[in-house]
Amino acid sequence: MTPDPARMDALDATWKDKPGLWGFLTTVDHKRIAARYIVTALLLMFLAGVLALDMRWQLSVAENTRMGPQLYNESFSLHGSTMLFLVSVPVMEAMALWLVPLMLGTRNMAFPRLSAFSYWLYLGGVLTLWIAHALDITPDLGWFEYPPLSGPSYSPGHRADIWAQMITFTEVAALAASVNVAATILKMRPPGMTLARMPVFLWAMLIASLMTILSMPAIMLVTSMLISDRLVSTHFFAPAAGGDVLLFQHLFWFFGHPEVYIIFIPATGFVSSIVETFSRRPLFGHNVLVLAILAIAALAFGLWVHHMFAVGLPRLGNDFYTGASMAIALPAGLQIFCWIASIWSGRVVLHTPMLWIIGFLATFVIGGLSGVMTASASLDLQLTDTYFVVAHFHYVLVGGAMFPLFGAFCYWYPKATGRLMSERWGRVAFALIVGGFNLGFFPMHVLGLMGMPRRVYTYPAEMGWEWLNQVATAGSVIAVLGGLVFVGNALASYWRGAPSGPDPWGGSTLEWACPSPPPAWNFAYTPRVSSLTPMWEDASRIAVFDGIAVDRREVLVTSVTDAVPVYRQKSASPSIWPLVAAAAVSAMFIASIFTPWAIAAGLLPIGAALTGWFWPTRARATSGPLRARS
C-alpha cells in the first residue's frame, strides 16, 4: 500500500498547513489541534498538581499556618475545577480528536473547523479561570458551587461568576468536540467497518460523545441560571422568593454524574485497545464490552441523586438511587472480567502501556468498592463530606481514568512522534506514580472513617489525624515526582528516542497502518476492513480503495450501520474564522459576567465571524429561486 512519491507530493500540497504562525492559527488538522489540547491539559494538570501538593503540605502538620482558610478554599476549588473541567474531560475529547480519524483510516474529522473552534474556546475557558486566579479573583466554593452560598448574597464579587462562566466555555467546547466525534464515527467509517466490526475504542468515544451531548445542556443551563440570579437578580435559587436551591443540585448532578463516566468511558476505550494489542489476541467478549459500556452510559443518567443523599430527599427516592448506583457495578464488573479474561488467555507482553493497565485494574477496583459503599444511602450519611469521599473519587478518577490515560500516552506516543519512549524510565515513572498514589490516598479512607472532614484547612493535634496525613503527603510527593519523571521521559524521548517505525507494538487497529508520525493526510488510500482487528489479518496487504480526490480536500462518507460508501464530501480548508469566532464568543462570555447587555451586543461580532466562517465557496446556482440573476 506504499503510495508512489508523486501521489504523496500531491497529497502534501493539498493537505499541508501553511508554514509559520499563520499555519498555526488557521490549521484544521485534527492531529495538530488534538496535540494542542493534550499539551494544554497536561500543563494544567501540572499546575493543579502543584496546588494539590501545596494543600498536602498544609495538612501534613496539625494547625499548620502555611495556608489560611481562604487560601485553602481557593486551592481546592481551583484544583478540583481545573482537574475536572479543564483536564479530564478535554483530554479525553482530545484523544478522540487525535485518534478517531486515524482509526477510521480517514483524512480528517467530519467538521474540521469545528475542531479548531473547540480548542480555541477551551483555551478561552482556561485563560478565564487562570488569569482570574492571577488577579486574585479565584473561585473559592469548591468544584460544584451550590447556592445560596454561591448566590449574590453570600458570594459578592465575581469569584463565583468566573467559575460559572468557565463552565460555559468548556461546555460549549465539549459540545463542539462531541458532535464532531459522533458524526465522524457514525458517518466516516471505512468500507467494511460495519457497526459490528467497530473497535471498542470507537464505541467508547462514540458513547462518551453522545453522553456529553445529552448531559452538558443541563450544566450550561444551571450555571447560566446562577449567573442570572447574580447579575440580573432572578430568583431561581432563592427559596424565600419561590425559588429552589435543590434545583441547582439536581441540574448540576444530572450532568455531574454522567461527567465521571464521560471521563471513564474513553478510558475503557484506551484499556481495550492496549489489552488487545499486548495480550496478542482479539478482545475476549467484544460484544459484552460494548454492551457494558452502553449499559453504564444509560444507567449513568439515572443515579445522580446519590450525590444528594444528605440533603433530605424522600426515603424511597434515596433507596431507588442506592439500587441504581449499585447496579452500575454489574456492567463495570463485566468489563473488568472481559479484560482479565483477555489477558489470561493471551500471550501478555508487559511493556509500559500494559503496566499501566495492570495499575489501572488494581486501583480502579478499590475505587469501585468504595463507590459501592458510598452508594448506600445510609452509609453515605456517615461518609459524605469526609476524607473517605476524597479517597474514593481520587481512586476512580486517577486510578480509573488517569492511569489508562498515561498508558494510552505511552502506547500512542510512537505513533505521534515516530519515536519510542524509554522503557526503563517508563517503569520508574509507573512505579513512583502508582506506588505513591496508593500510599498517598489509601490512608485517606481511614482518615475519613476517623471523621476527618473534607475541605478543612487544618485540624487540632488532639484529633490524632496527623501521622496518617503525613503518610498521605509523602505519597503525594512520590506520585508527583513520578509525574516529573514521566514528563521528562516524554520530552527526552521526543528528541532522543529510538525510531519506532509505523507499528512498534504490532497493534490491531488501523492507526498502525499509516506512517509515524502520520502525514497531514493520514492515509494515501481508503482502507477496506473485514474484521475487528484489521491489522492482524494480513498487515502487509490491507485492501485499499482509490477514488478520493488527491488534488482537493475530500473525504469519504459512508452509511451509519453498514459503512457502505455513500458519497465524497468536501472537507473544509484551513481558516482563521474558527479562531475569530472563538474570540468573539469569549469576549461575549466574559463581558456577560458584568452586564447582561453583553449578550445582545456580543451577538453582532459572533454573527459576523460565523458569516465569514460559512461564506460559500461554491459558485452561485444557475437555477432555482436563489439563482444568480444578471
Binding site: 481562604q70 449574590p152 448574597s153 459578592p156 437578580s233 430568583h235 432563592a238
Partner: protein, 151 residues
C-alpha cells in the same frame, strides 16, 4: 512595549484594586474613622466582601426593621439623600450615635460598624431589584427580633 509586558502591567493594575480581596477574621480598624478621608475607608467601601458583611449585620442588628425600602423618606436609606451628610465618617456617626435608644456604639463592634457603614453607603448604587434579591437570600437568617439567642 511587547504585548506580554502590557498584559503583565494590566494584570498588576487590576490586582491593585482589591475589590475582590477577602480576609477572614478581624482586619484593621479598631478605631473610629478619623474623617471622610481616612485612608482605611477604601478597603471597606470598595470591597465586595466587606460590604456584604455589612448587609448581614444590618439585618442581624435589626436595622432593616425600621429602614425598610420605600418606607418613610427620613428612614429610606436607598434614595441617596443623606440628611446628616453622606461622607463615610458622617454616615458612621449617624449609625453609631444617631440611635441613642439602641446604644449601637456599645453593642456593635467597631469593625462591624465600618462594614455596616460601607453597606449603607453602597445601597443607592444598586437597583431596587438587586437590593431585594440580596436581602431575600438572607431571609433564613435570624434577624432583629427573630433572633432568640445563641443556639
Amino acid at each position: 512595549m511587547k504585548p506580554g509586558g502590557i498584559l503583565v502591567l494590566l494584570a498588576a493594575c487590576l490586582a491593585a484594586c482589591s475589590n475582590e480581596a477577602r480576609t477572614i477574621g478581624p482586619a484593621m480598624p479598631q478605631t473610629l474613622p478619623s474623617g471622610d478621608a481616612d485612608p482605611r475607608i477604601g478597603a471597606y467601601q470598595e470591597n465586595a466582601y466587606q460590604v456584604s458583611q455589612g448587609r448581614r449585620y444590618f439585618a442581624w442588628y435589626g436595622c432593616s426593621q425600621c429602614h425598610a425600602e420605600g418606607g418613610p423618606a427620613d428612614r429610606d436609606l436607598t434614595d441617596g439623600k443623606w440628611r446628616h451628610g453622606g461622607g463615610f465618617a458622617q454616615v458612621y456617626a449617624s449609625v453609631a450615635s444617631g440611635h441613642p435608644e439602641q446604644d449601637f456604639v456599645r453593642r456593635i463592634a467597631i469593625e462591624q460598624l465600618w462594614q455596616i457603614t460601607a453597606y449603607v453607603r453602597d445601597l443607592p448604587t444598586h437597583t431596587a431589584e438587586k437590593r431585594y434579591r440580596l436581602l431575600v437570600d438572607q431571609k433564613g437568617e435570624a434577624q432583629g427580633s427573630s433572633w432568640n439567642g445563641p443556639q
